[in-house]
Symmetry: C2
Subunit: 446 residues, 2 copies
C-alpha cells in the first residue's frame, strides 16, 4: 500500500498553499496532493476566461510548481477516509495511507430549487475545464444572457459577457441591491451604475419564478410575471462547503455546514486538518461562525494548517474577510467589517471617510477618484473595517487596511501613519485618503 | 498688530497638512499660513510638469482648500522671528503676533561648487512657478540635456525630458549606481536599464569637473576629460534644510543641519514646532539623526505637531522613510531599511524574497512581474524593511509594508497575513509575494 506523510485532498488554492507551506516547514516529509480534476481552473480567474483570456486553458493552477516543490500530484477521487487505519480509498480503487491529512475539498456551486434549472444552457460556475469550455462556446454565439445572482461572480460574469460581445445582458438579484451582502449601499449603487453604463440591465428586488424552455432554456420568468429572453442562463447565487467525504468519515459539521476546526485548523480527528471553503470559519471580530468563502482566507488557513502538521506552530485568529473586485473601470474592496455589519451587530462604531484623486496633481492622466471609508471601534479607536473604491490601486490599498486591522492599529496611529506617495502612483501626502479618513473619525471620538 | 493663534510658516506639503490638522484638532483657533510664493508647486509633482502635464500651472498646491478650512493665507516672507514678543516681521514690513508657530520652511536645492554652475541654462529644481516655466520653455527647444545627479529627481527628470522629446539625455552620477543610496544594487541596475532602453545615457562613477560655455552652458566636462554636449544642465544632487529664519531666532540646529525637535516636534522654544525638511529627523529603527527629506515624512510630522499645538496629543516614533517612484514602466519603492543599510549598521537580519505576476493568471493583459524583498530583524523576526519593484500597484504595496513595519509585525504574522486578491488587481493568494517572502525568511530563522 502506498503511504505518504502528508496527504492533501484538493488541488485548488488552499491545496497548493498547503503543499508549498508543508514543504517549507517539513522539508523531509513525503507530500502528495490528490484531486479528481485533470486540470484545475484558478478559482477567482474563472469569470475572466470569457471576455478577457479567451480560453479556460489560460486560467489553470500551475501544476508544475507542485513537482518543483517535491509534491506528488495524484489525479484520483477520494471516495472514503478510514480514520482508524489512516488510509483513503479512491475512485480507481487505490488505498493510500497517510500520517497527516489536510482536507481542502472546497465548495460546490449552489443550484437553486427553481423549476427549469436543469434545462440546457443553464450553467453554474463549475470549476471544471471542459464544462467552462462548453459555456464559453455557448456564450460566443449568444445575445440574450440572464445572470441570476448579483454577487461578485454574477457581476464579473456580466462584465465579461459584455466584453465578449453579448448584446442583451441582465442581472437578476433578489435583494434590493447587487453586492448588498458585501458592500455598504452607496458603493452597491455605484457599481450597479457602472454596469448600466455599458447597457447591462440590473433587476434588483426580483425573484426568479422559473426557467422556461423546450429542452433548452428560452426565457426566465420573474415573480412579477415578466419574462426575460434568455439563450443562456448563468446561476451565480453562491456556493456550499463540499464536505461529503469528511462528513461520511465522521468529522464534525458546524452551523455553516462546514467542517468544524479549532484554532490550529484541526478537525475532531487529531490527524486531519481542514482548510478553505470546506472548513468552518469564525469571525476575527466576533468569534462567531461566518461564511467567508474566499481564496485568500483559504490560503491563509492552509498556511496555518500546513505549518502545524507535526507541531503546532501557528494559530488562526479568525477570518478578517478581505476582497476586491473590478466592475467596468471601477475597482472596489473591503477589509473587515462594513458599517452595515457594525450596526447590525450592535458594535459601537465611528465612521471616517475621505476622497481624493489617486494621483497628484489630480490633473495627471489616468487619475481616478479614490474613496476610503473606515469603521473604527468607538471606544478603543481600533480599526475594524475599511471599504475602498477607485482605480486599480484599490487591490493593494485594501491590503494596507487589512494589515492595519490585523495589527489592531487605532485611529490615532493611522492618522500619523507614515506612508509613501508618488505623483503617478498615489494620492498626495496631504490628501492621502486612509490617513484623512482616520482624522475625520478621530474628530467624532473626542 | 495682527495676531493669530497659530502661525504656520511655509505653504508646501507640511504647511498644508499642519493647517488642516490644526483646524481639525482646534476648531476655534485662528490659523494662518504665511508663505513667500504667490503659487506653490506640488513638490513631488515638479518633474511631471515637463513631459506629462505640460505646465507648472497644472501642478499647484490647492490654495482653495485653505480657505475652505478657515485658514488664512498670507503671501509674504518671514524675515525675522521675535521669540520673546512672539511676533514675526515680514519682508513687506508687517508684524504678526502668534500664540503657537509651526515652522515648515522646507529645503532648498543644493548647488554644487562646480565651476560654471552659474552659467545660463543651468537649472536646479526650484519650487518656483516662473522659474519652472522658464526651464520648460528651454527644454522644449533643447536636444542635448545633461542631468547631474542620479537620484529620484534626476531619473524622473530624465524620463520626463525623454517624454518631452529631448533626443540626447545623459544622467551623470558620482556613485557606482543611480539611486545607490536608496535601493539595493540589483534594483538600481534594473532601473538604470529601464532608462537605457529609451536611449537615455547613464554615466555612473563619474564626477563633473566643470560646466563650460560662453554666457550659456555649452558642455559638461567630466573628471576623466570627456565632454558632454549640453544645451541645458539640470542639477539634481539634493537639498539642504532651509533653516535661516529659525537659526537666526536662536533655534537649535542639529547634526543634519536641521532644526532640532523632540518627540512632540517641539523646538527648544516651547511655542515653536518644526516639521518637514527643515526639522531634524531621527530614524524609527536606530533613533539616530537621519536625512529623510520626503513629503510623506513631512506631512506625518505636520499631523503630529499640529495636534500638539495646545496639548501634547501625539508623539513621533521617528522616520520610517517610505517612498516610491516610476521610471519608464517600472514602479519601485522602499519602506524602512534596505539590506545595505542593515549590513552597514550591523543589524542582525534575514532576507526573504518572492516574485510573481501582479495579476492572476499571469497571462492576463497588463500583468507585470512584481518582486518583493523583505528585511527582518533576525532574532525578533520583526519586519524592518521592504523593497518592491513591478507595476503601478507598487505605490500602495509599499504602504502595506510601511504599515507592517510601523505595527512591528513579525515574519510569522506576515506569513499568515490575510490579504485580499483579485485576478485583475493582485497576485494570486498562493503566489502573494509579501506572504511568500516572509515564509522564505522564516525558513532561514529556524
Amino acid at each position: 500500500m502506498k503511504k505518504v506523510d502528508v496527504l492533501i485532498v484538493g488541488g485548488s488554492a488552499s491545496g497548493f498553499a498547503a503543499a508549498f507551506t508543508a514543504r517549507r516547514h517539513y522539508p523531509d516529509a513525503s507530500i502528495a496532493v490528490i484531486r479528481q480534476e485533470d486540470k484545475t481552473p484558478i478559482p477567482c480567474g474563472i469569470p475572466y476566461i470569457f471576455g478577457t483570456l479567451g480560453s479556460p486553458e489560460k486560467n489553470l493552477m500551475p501544476d508544475g510548481a507542485l513537482d518543483k516543490n517535491g509534491v506528488e500530484l495524484i489525479k484520483d477521487e477520494v471516495t472514503a477516509i478510514n480514520r482508524e487505519k489512516k488510509t483513503i480509498i479512491t475512485a480507481s480503487g487505490q488505498e493510500i495511507g497517510y500520517e497527516k491529512m489536510i482536507l481542502g475539498t472546497g465548495s460546490l456551486p449552489l443550484v437553486p430549487p427553481i423549476p427549469g434549472a436543469d434545462l440546457d444552457n443553464v450553467f453554474v460556475m463549475k470549476k471544471d475545464v471542459s464544462y467552462l469550455s462548453h459555456l464559453l462556446e455557448i456564450l460566443k454565439s449568444t445575445q440574450d444572457v440572464v445572470i441570476i445572482g448579483g454577487g461578485f461572480i454574477g457581476l464579473e460574469m456580466a462584465d465579461e459577457c459584455h466584453k465578449l460581445g453579448c448584446q442583451n445582458i441582465t442581472v437578476v438579484e433578489m435583494l434590493s441591491h447587487c453586492l448588498f451582502t458585501v458592500f455598504d449601499e452607496d458603493l452597491c449603487i455605484r457599481l450597479e451604475n457602472e454596469l448600466k453604463k455599458v447597457n447591462i440591465q440590473v433587476q434588483t428586488s426580483q425573484k426568479v419564478k422559473s426557467l422556461v424552455g423546450n429542452g433548452k432554456v428560452e426565457y426566465v420568468e420573474l415573480d412579477d410575471g415578466r419574462q426575460l429572453k434568455a439563450d443562456a442562463v448563468i446561476l451565480g447565487i453562491g456556493v456550499y462547503p463540499n464536505v461529503a467525504v469528511g462528513q461520511q468519515a465522521g468529522l464534525t459539521i458546524g452551523p455553516t455546514s462546514a467542517i468544524v476546526v479549532d484554532r490550529h485548523m484541526l478537525t475532531n480527528d487529531s490527524n486531519i486538518f481542514a482548510v478553505g471553503d470546506c472548513a468552518e470559519k469564525v469571525s476575527f471580530f466576533t468569534g462567531q461562525p461566518v461564511k467567508a468563502w474566499l481564496a485568500s482566507v483559504a490560503t491563509a488557513e492552509a498556511r496555518i494548517a500546513a505549518a502545524n502538521l507535526f507541531e503546532m506552530r501557528r494559530t488562526n485568529k479568525g477570518a478578517v474577510s478581505v476582497f476586491s473586485t473590478k466592475i467596468g473601470n471601477i475597482a472596489s474592496g473591503l477589509a473587515g467589517i462594513r458599517e452595515t455589519d457594525a450596526r447590525e451587530t450592535g458594535i459601537a462604531y465611528v465612521i471616517g471617510e475621505a476622497e481624493a484623486p489617486d494621483r497628484h496633481p489630480g490633473s495627471l492622466p489616468g487619475a481616478t477618484k479614490l474613496r476610503v471609508k473606515l469603521v473604527f471601534h468607538k471606544y478603543s479607536g481600533v480599526l475594524i473595517g475599511g471599504q475602498v473604491c477607485g482605480g486599480d490601486s484599490v487591490g493593494e490599498l485594501v491590503n494596507l487596511l487589512a494589515a492595519m486591522i490585523q495589527a489592531e492599529m487605532n485611529a490615532d496611529q493611522i492618522a500619523t501613519f507614515q506612508m509613501g506617495t508618488h505623483p503617478l502612483l498615489t494620492a498626495s501626502p496631504v490628501a492621502y485618503q486612509v490617513v484623512n479618513a482616520a482624522e475625520v473619525a478621530l474628530g467624532k471620538m473626542c
